[in-house]
Subunit: 162 residues, 2 copies
DNA sequence: CCCAATCAAGTTGTACACAACTTAGTTGTG
DNA sequence: CACAACTAAGTTGTGTACAACTTGATTGGG
């Protein structure tokens, strides 16, 4: 016990109840903020006919062009169990095409349709309203992202270790 | 590029692509961090037989005692659509009792069983390992929480407005 | 007193997320 | 060449989230 994360020699004597409360607040405030974001995006994306996760996939396609399911999954940290049905829904909505690769028959290439590509212009309104809605300064946003990325990396590594 | 974030008067001229990318990173890094946390908790809670959300409910019950579904929902920002099935699973696991209130027959009181109360001691190990796994200093954790809480509030308010 | 509005839970339907598994295609090595 | 190991998608099952709705209880205004 008495885990000392780095820079202070005197934080060991944190009582159980405090630790529990601190922990509760970290994981929970993150969870709550993520869901609040989800709620905002649900509104903002409603007339584009996209869910938040579908929007993330379209962002990847708009930014990096056609690519296999695997590559999309690596960018978004999602596996085929999540992406396969999601991509089928995007296909059913007429926004992407799914095409089995000739070079490697295991791979399926995802590419935006004309309609999917056109959607990008309308999607530009979304980030503007989101940025305004956060009420955060740009410095805070950048700082937040830095902490979150380190957190994601650290948690990912310990998960691998376990 | 005109990458002058924040404190200058000339930030309006942020090009579309930048805005889109910034936005992508905020919502996505939050989403990714939240899911990384989820993965870590999945491991840490496995031998307690709890999911992350069930753990949050138990935290509320351990900290504030027996209370109606409504109150739990207000603390965790969850509605009955999420809580009702979750609480049934906790009941089936023998960790809580659900009892219709006599004063107000609409309300259902949730209270930990003996087994549910006992689980608290074993759960104390979880926050220790989580705190260690984050790799963050206490200052960073507190700063993070502050930003996240303001973010949640701000996004919640604009959602109400819409 | 009565009934419309409100309220707490629960239900239904959709969409992630993810573990565990299956299927089919590819690759490296003996 | 053969075949085991690996890989990419997809499938299945469980568990959140959340909108929209239903049910039954409570309450406030006329």
């Amino acid at each position: 016990m008495t885990t000392t994360p780095g820079d202070r020699p005197d934080l060991p004597t944190v009582p159980d109840a405090e630790l529990l409360r601190l922990d509760h607040q970290v994981c929970f405030s993150l969870h709550a903020a993520s869901r609040a974001f989800g709620g905002f995006y649900r509104q903002a994306l409603k007339d584009l006919g996209l869910t938040y996760s579908q929007y993330l996939v379209m962002l990847v396609l708009w930014e990096h062009g056609p690519q296999p399911v695997k590559a999309i999954g690596e960018r978004l940290y999602l596996d085929s169990g999540t992406l396969s049905p999601l991509l089928k829904r995007l296909e059913a909505a007429g926004l992407v095409r799914r095409e089995r690769s000739r070079e490697d028959e295991r791979s399926v290439l995802i590419e935006p349709t004309g309609e999917g590509a056109d959607l990008r212009d309308r999607a530009l309104a979304v980030p503007r309203s989101v940025l305004a809605a956060t009420g955060l300064s740009v410095e805070e946003v950048l700082g937040l992202q830095d902490v979150l990325r380190r957190l994601t990396t650290a948690l990912g590594e310990t998960a691998d270790a376990a």
